[in-house]
Symmetry: C2
Subunit: 203 residues, 2 copies
């Protein structure tokens, strides 16, 4: 089954959104916690988080030009802090609900069943239930003129996790953490290990 | 267990690389196929692919400033074409081997056990064995001055996949495709479905 650029352009809008979002496979899924200048928290669901570098420790993520993403982005720009929180199987439906278009000024935390956790003086709220909580500060904001999205690159300044998740070599065990992954915008998965491989060498 | 910016900066280099790479969870895993101006193919393993938009259909990915990534990036800049190919359980070890530092000018395809597949006149090689093959053209090259990485944003111009993988609504079924995901740089996983949820609405 082959699709080219013309086929993709001719797809019905919702079909294309589903197709392109699910095409590249399993993605890094997080709830983004932010807060506005009035102290109202905001929670959003994101699957576009990517590794940029380990030293300094940098993660990137994409913000759409419309809807919930703009509230979150405005909070990051004002407060210079945000959090990424993993999703576990027992609350993946609540996490999905945080992707609904809540009106600006209404926090998604309480209606979706999540508790805010604060690490004073870091202002952005973590999700208390998450087994891995990452606190970041934005370092670079990139405009993608192709489609008016923006990429925020942030530096990791806090990592909070339950004991026993990090191995002796620094490996974060997402089976122990219970981390869920996503394909497309709405299909959630746990994982089964295939294997961990040694550093690949040219021989 | 809490780590802050100072703890992260003080980590031993290899520990930090493992820790930060595995921290954000499961990632979109692909083999990148390119070709140079002499017709020598190149295959690399990437886990930084992210969704940028559906219309036009755009995917982003990050290139490190050193090593194999630079060969791949040079090929993309010269030829304006590249491919992303999913990894299946029966060849994940071969895919991992393509991340070794092969000398420039030696193709990773044959030594790693992969066959090149060409869709004339598209110049970049697909991985014949992959059940989902994506052909792209670069649209934007972004310099990340923070750590000298580069982001390439490409438009999807070809999608080749086996029959039966795409649903009536456009959903690409990665269970049927057999797509593997990765955590960190070396831990590979298959998935188990938790559930597909309806579009979330604010009520």
């Amino acid at each position: 089954m082959n699709f080219n650029q013309t086929h993709i352009a001719a797809m019905e809008k919702r079909y294309r959104t589903t197709f392109i979002n699910s095409l590249p496979g399993y993605k890094s899924l997080h709830m983004l916690g932010t807060i506005n200048e009035k102290g109202i928290s905001n929670l959003g669901l994101f699957n576009s988080i990517f590794h940029v570098g380990a030293n300094p420790a940098l993660l990137g993520m994409v913000f759409r030009p419309e809807g919930n993403d703009q509230d979150s982005l405005a909070n990051i720009i004002v407060n210079k802090e945000y959090t990424l929180n993993n999703v576990l199987p027992h609350y993946f439906k609540q996490a999905h609900q945080s992707s609904a278009r809540f009106p600006s000024g209404i926090s998604e935390f309480e209606p979706c069943g999540f508790h805010e956790f604060y690490l004073d003086p870091f202002k952005a709220p973590f999700v208390a239930q998450a087994s891995i909580k990452i606190g970041l500060q934005p370092r670079e904001l990139i405009d993608i003129s192709l489609n008016n999205t923006k990429i925020v690159i942030g530096e990791i300044v806090h990592v909070l996790m339950e004991d026993g998740i990090v191995g002796n070599d620094g490996y974060v065990d997402h089976l122990k953490a219970g981390t869920v992954t996503v394909a497309g915008l709405d299909s959630y998965f746990t994982t089964e290990p295939l294997g961990r491989l040694p550093y690949a060498k040219f021989v």
